[in-house]
Amino acid sequence: MAANFNPLTIILRVKVREALNFSPGYPKTEAMVLQIVNQLVGGGVDIQELRDAMEWNLTHRFIRSEKDDDKQVLWYITEAGIAQQRI
């Protein structure tokens, strides 16, 4: 049986990579990613949907995270993520 995909889920996965692919050398917080993704899709993105999309990208190693000195989680796109954005 085919999986029941919500088109928005797939769009958000792409948009998360798009957001992190802007100035890829600079990290972004989750709040920044949410703000950028909202600008890319025209608003209305739910934080939990965003987290699911980020989790999916993390599982596929398209994005990675690290903590700064203040224990704040920072997000980066990986080389694999950048390559994925080209197709």
Binding site: E18, F22, S23, Y26, P27, K28, T29, M32, Q35, I36, Q39, L40, V41, G42, D68, L74, Q85, R86, I87
Partner: protein, 198 residues
Amino acid sequence: MSTIDPRADAKLQNLPEEALQDLWRFRHPEEGGEKLTLEAICVEVQRLYRFSISLSSLHGFYRWLEVKRRIDQREDLVNQVKQRLAENPEVSDAQIKMAGQRIFMAEGIIEKDAKIFADMVKIGQADAKGRREDAKLELQRKGLKLDEQKFALMERKAKAMDEAAEQMKLLKAGGKLMPDAERTAILDKMDEILGLKK
């Protein structure tokens, strides 16, 4: 070789910078220029770059391009700040990198003035330097206190040695004829002075 055909919006996003600027100008012409409709741009994309794109993809592309331009501007600003900071030999590469990250993540405080940002970083540095100086002074103060304690201890020891020497003289002067009780009293006193008495 990959057989996957990139999405049309990915093709647009991966166009060279110059082409992206042309596409931006189609929608945001300079003064007196003609603003093209999305339909007209679809035709232009086909003509200039030899691939077709849907209206909805083009609409999404322009949203992307707007965000990209804003973030590129921010990155330029951060790079200017980093250059200014790099002119200061007291600022390490790690500090420059950290300052760059912080400024990049600081949303829209001052979008266009690299000098003000650099000044803010310098103020932060001066503040940190002040705190370091304070810590240094505190350490020096503690060191001084330790020295004072050490000196007092040495003074006490010297005094004890003098007193012990005095008792030794008495012991020597008494010689073998000194009564046992007196000798014991002097030795007791010496033990007391030298801290050997239990």
